[in-house]
């Protein structure tokens, strides 16, 4: 069974993240890039499925040059190879354009399953998996807390507010995962060394079948009009508990009419 895992490089949440004054897109120079956290769970799930059912795991990344760090991370966890779509024409693409571009790039790869994280930690739109399924015309098995493959069928537990839905589809399909699904492995030293020799197929937008008239900031379906630092919250009252901390909060809540 061949699996493609989508990997995105995002700015590290622990650093200060900014938009660029020049074009209101993400300022990638302002903070360190890291692999999107949920993508590690997607890689882990793909590796576990490969261990059970055989086949190959291919990483697909679209992004700027520095995204190679995240590709290396994915390969050092155990993925077999990578496709890296890297083209200035893609700069500023929004979530739907990204889904379109990834769908086109997937057209150049053979796969049974596409696995991705349910959202990225930077834009957090949570729509790429669904939009990708729409573009590909494939079943959408998203927000999976559990994935089982049986012959040509795949079954997931889709997380809901009340618990989960069991959802079934025939492959090929698009699966997105939540962090509950597994515990991502740490790359071993051996795998890190091997990863350096694994093939990374770098493609331009044209190589990947992407129409550059449909991607990039100039063709975006959405536009960030302006941005500013959020106004700071007014400083609150902080007291040390001297045996009456609970009562003092109750007073505050009474004053605010919550009690």
């Amino acid at each position: 069974m061949n699996i493609v895992v989508l990997v995105k490089q995002v700015p590290d949440t622990a650093t200060e993240r900014k938009l660029s004054d020049a074009d209101n897109t993400l300022d990638r120079a302002a903070s360190d890039g890291v692999i999107n956290e949920l993508d590690e769970y997607a890689i882990e799930e793909a590796l576990q499925l490969k261990e059970k059912h055989g086949g190959e795991v291919t990483v697909l990344t679209m992004g700027p040059d520095q995204a190679t760090d995240s590709i290396r991370k994915a390969l050092s966890m155990g993925a077999d190879k990578a496709v890296f779509v890297n083209d200035d024409a893609l700069h500023g693409s929004d979530a739907l354009q990204t889904a379109y571009a990834l769908a086109q790039a997937l057209g150049t790869i053979e796969y049974d399953l596409v696995v991705l994280g349910s959202e990225s930690t930077d834009a957090r739109t949570g729509v790429v998996g669904a939009a990708l399924a729409e573009y590909l015309g494939l079943p959408q098995l998203t927000f999976a807390g559990k994935v089982d493959v049986d012959g040509g069928a795949v079954r997931i537990q889709r997380q809901t507010d009340y618990g989960y839905d069991v959802v079934e589809a025939q492959m090929p399909a698009v699966v997105s995962v939540v962090e509950k699904i597994n515990e991502p492995r740490y790359p071993s030293f051996k795998l890190i060394m091997q990863a350096k020799k694994k093939p990374v197929d770098k493609k331009s937008a044209a190589d990947a079948g992407i129409d550059t008239g449909k991607v990039g900031l100039a063709n975006a379906t959405t536009e960030t009009v302006d941005f500013a630092a959020a106004p700071p919250r007014a400083a609150g009252t902080i007291v040390t508990d001297e045996g009456d901390g609970g009562a003092k909060i109750a007073d505050f809540l009474s004053e605010k009419k919550f009690v």
Binding site: A130, T160, E179, E223, F227, T240, G246, V259
Partner: protein, 314 residues
């Protein structure tokens, strides 16, 4: 005035609060038309009329047998037939997906998790864990916008709520992912986390899987219970209650953080709460930078005292 489609969130015929919020926003842009999928429209209609819905489009519950795609087909079809000015949905994980697919079908754009929308459908986002406020708009086609629950106060207005049955032929492509079973896990009587006016969350400081101290305070306040990632990762509280970057985003009137340090990953899920109260042993905990009222102390003594005081004052 052009119609603004609002996808209704309902449970057993009861309209959720976020739908009233969406109808309020819809009135700024045009004429609100509610879109109801499944049974219960007959009983739920009154609740839509109270918030200005002029029309209620009702579609068969069969759409719910498959994941997301049929609802997106319905919204896209209605948007085209009615030349809608915008489509509004709540920013739940499922509805954001519906919004994304509908936008692809319409060749338009989608904005998710917005906290405000103007009459011109310009949306406000609170991004990077609440550190930045950004405004965005859809450049092509019908704007599809997913609004974060509890962000905009619902204001009543009278609407006709004229019912119209919509027949949709679910396409084969949309039947690819079939729901074969729905499993409800422990829920209890507490309000739903993202809808709740008050949320009480517990973190590492709770110290064990015994969340009683958190739950009792929540029940005294009529609140939902949340948990930090540290508490969920430790296996103390179920995953679906996690607040933060990889969990739920909440925006209640009151957020009480018990034993939560307030790392950026947690703040990303609760920073737009209107009032924040924190209890933590560590006076340096970043949660105190956000707190309107904070107590440096042991939650295991402060929270029970608070619960008792609230129950006394009721």
């Amino acid at each position: 005035m052009a119609e603004v489609l609002v996808l209704v969130d309902h449970v057993d015929g009861q309209v959720k609060k976020v739908t009233a919020e969406l109808l309020t926003v819809a009135r700024r842009i045009g004429e609100p038309a509610a879109v109801w999928v499944g049974d219960g429209a007959e009983s739920g209609k009154a609740g839509l009329a109270e918030f200005g819905a002029e029309k209620v489009y009702v579609a068969s519950s069969e759409l719910n047998d498959y994941v997301v795609a049929p609802k997106a087909e319905l919204l896209a079809k209605l948007a085209q037939e009615k030349s809608a000015a915008a489509i509004l949905v709540s920013a739940t994980p499922e509805n954001k997906e519906v919004a994304g697919r509908a936008a692809v079908k319409l060749g338009s754009g989608v904005l998710t998790d917005v906290v405000d929308v103007t009459a011109e459908a310009v949306a406000e986002h609170s991004i990077f864990g609440g550190a930045t406020i950004a405004h965005a708009r859809v450049r092509t086609g019908v704007p599809v916008v997913a609004v974060r629950p509890n962000s905009i106060p619902a204001e009543p207005a009278t609407g006709a709520a004229a019912e119209e049955t919509v027949s949709v032929e679910v396409s084969d492509a949309a039947k690819g992912a079939k729901v074969v079973e729905r499993v409800a896990q422990e829920k209890g009587d507490r309000p739903e986390l993202t809808e709740a006016a008050v949320v009480v969350s517990g973190g590492r400081g709770v110290g064990s899987e015994d969340f009683t101290v958190v739950e009792q305070l929540a029940d005294a306040l009529g609140a939902a219970v949340g948990a930090s990632r540290a508490a969920v990762d430790a296996g103390w509280y179920p995953n679906q209650f996690q607040v933060g970057q990889t969990g739920k985003t909440v925006s209640p009137n009151l957020y009480v953080a018990l034993g939560i340090s307030g790392a950026i990953q947690h703040r990303a899920g609760m920073q737009t709460s209107k009032n924040i109260v924190a209890v933590n042993k560590d006076p340096e905990a970043p949660i105190f930078e956000l707190a309107d009222y904070g107590v440096v102390g042991d939650l295991h003594t402060v929270a029970p005292q608070l619960t008792e005081e609230i129950n006394k004052r009721k």
